[in-house]
């Protein structure tokens, strides 16, 4: 078995250090070492988007990366988005307002993906929204509430509402 590697990752603003096997996925590192269990695993082959996190501000699938590849990086998971216990991130608030979730399992990945999408495209059309979030799978909602939530979040985050 390969030697463990010392890594240091800033997770939601807090330094997480550890000795990890080179084969440990970033998703498992975040769930098991950093205790960010909001990082969910839906397929472990990079299609469903449930494990999406921000790595140095970019949305990535944490099941497709090894933890060692995130050494010295900054990670934001869904747990790190809300401003405080009483104030949700506008995307989180919009998901709740618009019934953008049912079972909630895909939600952490969607929330991160939508936050990153709106960062890059603050004033999207509906068609842009549908394509922008098509890298994440939801089996409960039929995407109706998720599209509406993305629209609402775009408006509250400062993009012109269409």
């Amino acid at each position: 078995m390969a030697e463990a590697v010392a890594i240091s990752v800033k997770v939601n603003g807090r330094l997480q250090q550890g000795l990890v096997e080179p084969r440990l996925t970033l998703a498992d590192f975040l769930r098991e070492k950093a205790l960010c269990t909001g990082v969910h695993l839906g397929c472990e082959h990079g299609v469903c988007g449930t494990c999406t996190i921000l790595l140095d501000g970019q949305a990535v699938r944490s099941c497709l990366m090894f933890a060692v590849q995130a050494n010295q990086a900054e990670v934001t998971t869904v747990e790190g988005l809300a401003l405080n216990e009483d104030t949700l991130h506008p995307v989180q608030q919009a998901f709740s307002d618009c019934h953008g979730l049912q079972c909630g399992f895909c939600t952490p990945g969607f929330v991160i993906s939508v936050a990153a999408f709106l960062e890059a495209n603050p004033d999207p059309t509906d068609e842009e929204i549908r394509h922008g979030i098509s890298g994440n799978l939801c089996r409960c909602t039929g995407y109706q509430g998720i599209v509406a939530a993305t629209r609402q979040a775009a408006a509250t985050m400062g993009g012109k509402s269409r």
């Binding site: 839906g42 472990e44 299609v47 909630g104 399992f105 394509h131 799978l137 089996r139 995407y143």
Partner: protein, 771 residues
């Protein structure tokens, strides 16, 4: 001015109480459960559809550092006491109780070794070290020929055809003889699977001296899991403790304990260590359960005016090797439900179920929906054959208020509270039926192929037979006035924490936020959440418990306020004298009196504020809906684009319209996926070709159109007037989409009868046509 009446929450789109934890990543799903000393499970699974295990040496795997145990069939299978699930009769013909494959494997994905290790990584390493050899055998893959195959999927059953029923009806034969026309077609539905975003999973912890098995699981039926687990291990039900947390979807997949779940229970008991098994997606797609694969040959007799006179049905379905839950075979349910929302006349039917060397069948959202899939496609075919517009043909045959109550020849009884004719009209109006036909004709002139599909159906919800008949609600007003509600449900996306709280809030005069729902351990028996049953049955129990509690709260408050009970009202948790708002006590004061100052209670009143109610539901509560969608087919690429999608639904009084529309939309998306994209396909050797999300295509936001909702509200006769609605979307969508595509392809003179209508299928249909 303050409001003079209590706020009403039922009927409002109250925001969900579940959401704050779920949108912030603080849900607690089974993989989030970590116990001290917990070990991890992985299964070795067959790569062959059928074969004999000629050699199996586990010693190298067992010797790997970090591996704690390696179990084979002879370790686990003999430990099983009983695999019975409450729904099924104890002696129904079922596959052998093999938790692990013993001597031979029977489908690709069949587990034959369980490894227990310090991590899942190590457990999977150990599987690579197994020394195993198989002798391949000819598999039974094609379900159409399985009954006559010489090879047997389960030699123990001595047949591949464990289940067949035939119900001839002489009146049907007579009607066919005298009919103007009899039209026959066979309709095929293909293999699909549930795909909850959270796969199956279980954590099991055996407490040796207490003899208690403690379980955390991804389940929709915590009490059935408790019973099945206790029966598997041969321990008392009270020794099986099931904790219920967040569940990431199920759609029927998590009603019953699977073979792997039971293997984990048995192994945890043998080892005396907590075990965790989290299914990976490949396992889920290959071995959890498949569904839908079936065919129905339908013959319908019509008179000159297109009136349905009689029908003859022949249903054949594939149960795979090990159906999830035990003996399956819902074919008879599909044929029985076939008449649906029409005056169909006498019906004869036959239903057969076969085993094949494929993944076992399991319940999937509307497990009987072949009745609507076949019927609604058939009606469009009849319309085309006799030259009547498909909407008009439905209008001529649909059940109308004057037909109700109605008894079908297959034994169904429809209440006076169904409204299929109204939902048909409403959906047609929303889509703009006549305008679309004009648009479609113009488009065809320009070489564009638009189509419209209708699906009208009645959904049997809240079925009340046997273990499905009741649900319980134990309601406790705590010392501080907060309400804890314990129920036998298993909400996994259906929003019951919110909707049950809405019901209790209105009955009791509090806010939904004052009510917390607890499921699993500590609640009273219930079948759980599935079968579109929670609104009616669990809702009935919640209402009854709250209503009983209200009486006691009022009696105590009247005593404290020295007022007459009839003069009191309850608003936002404050009990006051009508017209004298200063004379009031809070729920917390009443509760504190009931628990901590019981001497101040009215004489003879029992201390405490606890009330339990159990609701017994009628045999079935029917809802109904009509789906109409439009599409465009690109004849160059075969691509189908859905243009509009309308659902007119009558689920009675809605507890929370936002939740109802969410359920409908989610079901529709699954149905669209089934009709156009998803296919759990095998090759002729029984090798599954869709084992990842790159091959099994779940629709994304780019494929699912906006869904437009219409609501007809005819309250049912159950308390609150609700009807179930959870499965309907997935029942109506496949035939609606199919009919739309068939309609778009009509100019090519082709008649599709098989799904999925993926680009290849559409292109070959067009190529086969004679435009």
């Amino acid at each position: 001015m303050s409001p003079t009446t209590a706020a009403r929450y039922v009927g409002q789109s109250v925001k969900r109480l579940e959401d704050p934890r779920l949108v912030t990543g603080h849900g607690r799903y089974v993989d989030d459960v970590v116990l001290a000393g917990m070990l991890h499970v992985a299964f070795a699974r067959s790569d062959l559809a059928r074969g004999t295990i000629t050699h199996l040496d586990t010693s190298a795997a067992a010797a790997l550092d970090g591996v704690r145990a390696v179990f084979v069939a002879s370790d686990l299978n003999p430990q099983v006491d009983s695999l019975r699930a409450s729904m099924f009769p104890p002696h129904a013909p079922a596959p052998p109780p093999n938790l692990l494959a013993d001597k031979d494997v029977r489908f690709v994905g069949d587990p034959y070794v369980m490894v227990v290790a310090e991590s899942r990584y190590i457990a999977e390493d150990a599987i690579e070290l197994l020394d195993v050899e198989f002798e391949p055998l000819e598999p039974v893959v094609d379900y159409e020929t399985a009954a006559d195959a010489s090879a047997l999927v389960h030699p123990e059953l001595e047949t591949n055809l464990p289940n067949q029923m035939q119900v001839p009806n002489p009146e049907q034969t007579e009607a066919f003889a005298g009919a103007a026309q009899v039209i026959t077609e066979t309709w095929y539905q293909h293999r699909q699977t549930n795909v909850p975003m959270e796969t199956r999973g279980i954590v099991a912890s055996w407490q040796p001296h207490a003899g208690v098995m403690e379980v955390w699981a991804s389940t929709q039926s915590p009490h059935e899991l408790q019973l099945m687990g206790a029966r598997t291990l041969g321990i008392g039900e009270h020794k099986m403790v099931v904790h219920f947390g967040d569940v990431g979807g199920a759609f029927g997949q998590k009603v019953f304990l699977g073979r792997e779940d039971r293997a984990v229970l048995v192994a945890a008991k043998l080892l005396g260590r907590p075990l965790k098994w989290i299914e990976d997606r490949r396992e889920n797609l290959l071995a959890a359960n498949h569904a839908r694969i079936e065919q129905m040959t339908v013959s319908i007799a019509v008179d000159e005016d297109g009136k349905f006179l009689a029908a003859n049905l022949d249903q054949l379905q594939d149960d795979g090797a090990y159906p999830l839950g035990g003996p399956a075979g819902l074919g008879a349910m599909s044929t029985t439900l076939f008449p649906g929302p029409y005056r169909m006349g006498p019906v004869s039917w036959q239903a057969r179920t076969v085993h094949t060397n494929t993944c076992g069948r399991g319940a999937y959202r509307g497990p009987w929906q072949m009745e609507s899939v076949a019927r609604e496609q058939m009606i469009d075919r009849v319309a085309s054959e006799i030259g009547i517009d498909p909407l008009e043909l439905r209008r001529r045959n649909v059940l109308k208020p004057e037909d109700l109550p109605y008894q079908t020849s297959t034994g169904l009884s429809f209440e006076t509270t169904i409204s299929p004719d109204q939902t048909l009209d409403q959906a047609a109006e929303i889509i703009g039926y006549e305008d679309f036909r004009v648009e479609q004709a113009k488009a065809r002139e320009r070489g564009r192929y638009l189509g419209l599909g209708i699906a009208l159906y009645i959904e049997p919800t809240s079925m009340g037979m046997g273990p499905l008949g009741t649900e319980s609600a134990m309601l406790r007003v705590e010392v501080d006035g907060h309400i804890n509600l314990f129920m036998g449900t298993g909400s996994h996306g259906q929003s019951l924490e919110t909707t049950m709280a809405q019901l209790v809030a209105d009955e009791l005069g509090v806010c939904p936020e004052d009510v917390s729902l607890h499921q699993g351990h500590g609640s009273g028996y219930g079948f759980g959440t599935g079968g579109s049953r929670s609104a009616v049955i669990a809702g009935g129990a919640a209402r009854a418990a709250a209503s009983g509690m209200r009486e006691k709260v009022i009696a105590i408050a009247a005593h404290l306020l020295e007022a007459s009970a009839g003069d009191l009202e309850v608003t936002d948790g404050v009990i006051s004298v009508k017209g004298t708002p200063s004379a009031q006590v809070t729920m917390a004061q009443v509760a504190a009196t009931a628990y901590q100052n019981s001497d101040a209670l009215p004489e003879g009143m029992e201390a405490g504020l606890e009330f339990t109610a159990r609701f017994k539901t009628p045999p079935v509560t029917h809802s109904n809906a009509c789906h109409i969608c439009t599409c465009e087919v690109d004849p160059g690429t075969g691509k189908v684009t859905l243009l509009r999608y309308v659902v007119s639904e009558d689920c009675g009084n809605m507890i929370n319209p936002m939740v109802v529309h969410g359920q409908v939309a989610g079901g529709v998306a699954q149905g669209i996926g089934g009709a156009l994209y998803e296919h759990a396909v095998y090759d002729e050797n029984g090798n599954p070709l869709a084992s990842t999300f790159l091959d099994y295509l779940v629709p994304t936001a780019a494929e699912v159109p906006e869904i437009e909702h219409g609501n007809v509200v005819v309250p049912s006769d159950t308390p609150g007037g609700h009807k179930g609605t959870g499965e309907g979307g997935a029942i109506g969508a496949p035939p609606a989409v199919f009919n739309a595509v068939a309609d778009a392809l009509a100019p090519f003179g082709v008649y599709p009868n098989r799904q999925p209508l993926d680009p290849n299928a559409v292109l070959s249909l067009i190529a086969s046509g004679a435009k």
